[in-house]
Subunit: 394 residues, 2 copies
């Protein structure tokens, strides 16, 4: 057995996205202790940079020491007590995972279901809230990684508050890619992942709770069922002030890389990052549509950073993805759950959202699909994208 | 705000330990997808290397995607159901954390308490098992990171089995540093951490379950309360065969580094690593004792990789550790819980367990304590260690 030397891929699936060399280099800096004064200073900077990324002043803004799924679980185990009624809006895989979380916390999940690939219907949520006046939490996914659809979180949160509910928002795929404004939209609890539009390596889950959510955590009748994710304890380590109590050993080097990725986001500017994701989406879409492929999510609901593309009739999903990987070292994503075999998911997230990646992806797809005899137009994608790609580089 | 450039420390606390440059370099290799065929191969190799480190053939041997505390929680949430009686042997901080875990799973914790800094008393465990014939699990810490004492896990597990109990063993500080033989000792469930004697960066928790433990997981009456840590689901991703189902996004780069650290352990040989930890412990101890300091754990119960040293009368703990850090970039650990202010914890774990580190630590302690007017003997530590250090390099 030898050292593992990974192949060099271009990552245009639903995550992880391409990691910038600056971030990889940050990962390999010398490890220091999790209570070292220099590390405490890093933690403070990470919190401040996360507040910028989330657009919030929430004091409890920090990364959970585990992947996005653990960030989701942190929200539910801290906010849901046995018997609590939680309205869960589901329009893809991750709404289903939220239901699992509610039930494993002893809560009652009231499901509001929309078709996979569509945005959450605000009227359906209102009907559910009217029918369940004792509901205390509404949970929703901002950007459904499994389908490429985004929902109007600002409006949904406003409605939930009108019915006296706290809100939990999944921003795993949205943070850094499309506008998310925690304070302006009054989101109570939100979590994300490091490996999507932040372009950091996977393994951390940024999270933010406002005072209303924290009040609920502080005044629970029962203990949080997870010791590792209990925010009452985690805050002793990530809290304010110079003195920090040991809770668990933080993933030191992973936090170096998160710091670097958030710094890069701040250097670019959040608005510029959103604009870049939007422009590059338009270029990719123009190329794919010129070729004859179509986006499966309807206009207006589409996530710029994660493009669901309908697989042409008669074309076998896995063969195409396998050829892209072996012939071009290019990873794109399969459909999940109900969309398996029906769509591809093409990510333009973080450092992956670049003109050169769009050229590679559209060119490689055209080449492979053409070779497989798919019913697509050859030679028209590049001209269709040219102007948009040039603009995306401005 | 700028990129974070950590100070270069020598890590001789209770963890993280010094990370070898090979492992830091592995961390920074290009990120690939968590379902990439090349990554699946890496996962298989990590499992095989962990089986070697744990000395087991258990099929369920893999790293949890979070720090050691989450490894502990994985064992408890999967094995404990509401109402289960769990005997917890406590002789330090981590036995207390086990109690928290049992209770948060709805179990009943029967505590067997020993003094902090002493090994677990097998007679007390037997008395507890006799008094609680309905207990179904015994939990114990092999190497108490908080005190530096180790217990006779082989004998304790044998006793637990005689009373029809499953066993959960904490090997966070022991794995790679002192003998731990999962199959020979018939340990049912065991977890560790990446950042101690494996000298990898913190953030992962190696774990192994035998078939008896897995049977209990498969035949639970209730769902595992954690979705993220539910082994029934995690095994779909880490399981055998080429086809893996998505569960969560694995911390790709962290797993590169774990692979590298396990490879280094295999290259050295487990027995050689154990011998190196033992020899270096003897050299450190000789130097400290010559100076007039004493180990707080009694001979025979001492962990070679984590040395608890009694703080001399009138010497303020934090001042000494602060000076070691600022004047020598050397981190040693404080006492935890009942031992706070009373002992230092000097780690000789993994890559930190080297002759040059012992010289630095003993020399720096002698210099700082001497300067503070502590009642120690000057100039005798080095001669006392000389022969042992030379031997430790063979």
């Amino acid at each position: 057995m030898k050292s593992f030397n990974p192949p060099v891929r271009t990552l245009m699936g639903p995550g992880p996205s391409d990691v910038h060399p600056r971030i990889l280099e940050a990962l390999s800096r010398p490890t220091i202790g999790h209570l070292d004064p220099a590390f405490i200073q890093l933690m403070d900077e990470v919190k401040e940079l996360l507040q910028y990324a989330f657009q919030t002043k929430n004091a409890l803004t920090m990364p959970v020491s585990a992947p996005g799924s653990a960030g989701m679980e942190t929200c539910f185990v801290n906010l849901v007590e046995p018997g609590d009624k939680v309205v869960v809006c589901q329009n893809g895989v991750f709404g289903g995972r939220m239901k699992e979380n509610v039930e494993r916390c002893g809560g009652i999940a009231i499901m509001v279901e929309d078709a996979w690939g569509e945005a959450i219907d605000i009227a359906k949520l209102e009907a559910a809230l009217k029918a369940n006046p004792d509901a205390s939490i509404v949970a929703m996914v901002h950007a459904e990684t499994s389908t490429g659809a985004q929902s109007d979180v600002a409006a949904l949160v406003k409605l939930a508050h009108a019915y006296d509910c706290l809100t939990i928002v999944d921003a795993v795929t949205s943070l850094g890619g499309t506008p998310i404004k925690v304070d302006e939209w009054e989101i109570d609890a939100i979590y994300s992942g490091s490996q999507k539009c932040l372009s950091c390596t996977p393994g951390l889950s940024p999270l933010s709770f406002n005072e209303r959510a924290l009040d609920k955590v502080r005044n629970r009748k029962t203990k949080v069922q997870s010791w590792f994710l209990d925010l009452n304890l985690v805050m002793g380590y990530w809290g304010t002030g110079a003195k920090r109590a040991y809770h668990h050993t933080a993933p030191i080097n992973a936090l170096y890389s998160l710091h670097e990725s958030l710094l890069m986001l701040k250097e670019e500017g959040l608005e510029n990052a959103w604009a870049r994701h939007h422009k590059n989406h338009l270029a990719l879409k123009a190329g794919l549509e010129a070729m004859g492929l179509s986006c499966s999510v309807k206009e207006g609901d589409r996530l710029p950073q994660l493009n669901a593309v309908t697989i042409p009739e008669g074309i076998e999903d896995a063969v195409v993805r396998g050829r892209l990987l072996t012939e071009y070292n290019l990873e794109i994503g399969a459909g999940l759950g109900a969309l398996a075999g029906k769509v591809w998911r093409i990510g333009l997230m973080g450092h992956s959202s670049r003109a050169e990646n769009i050229l590679l992806c559209v060119g490689a797809l055209e080449s492979v699909l053409g070779d497989m005899g798919a019913d697509i137009k050859l030679g028209v994608a590049l001209p269709a994208m040219q102007k948009l790609l040039a603009e995306s580089e401005k």
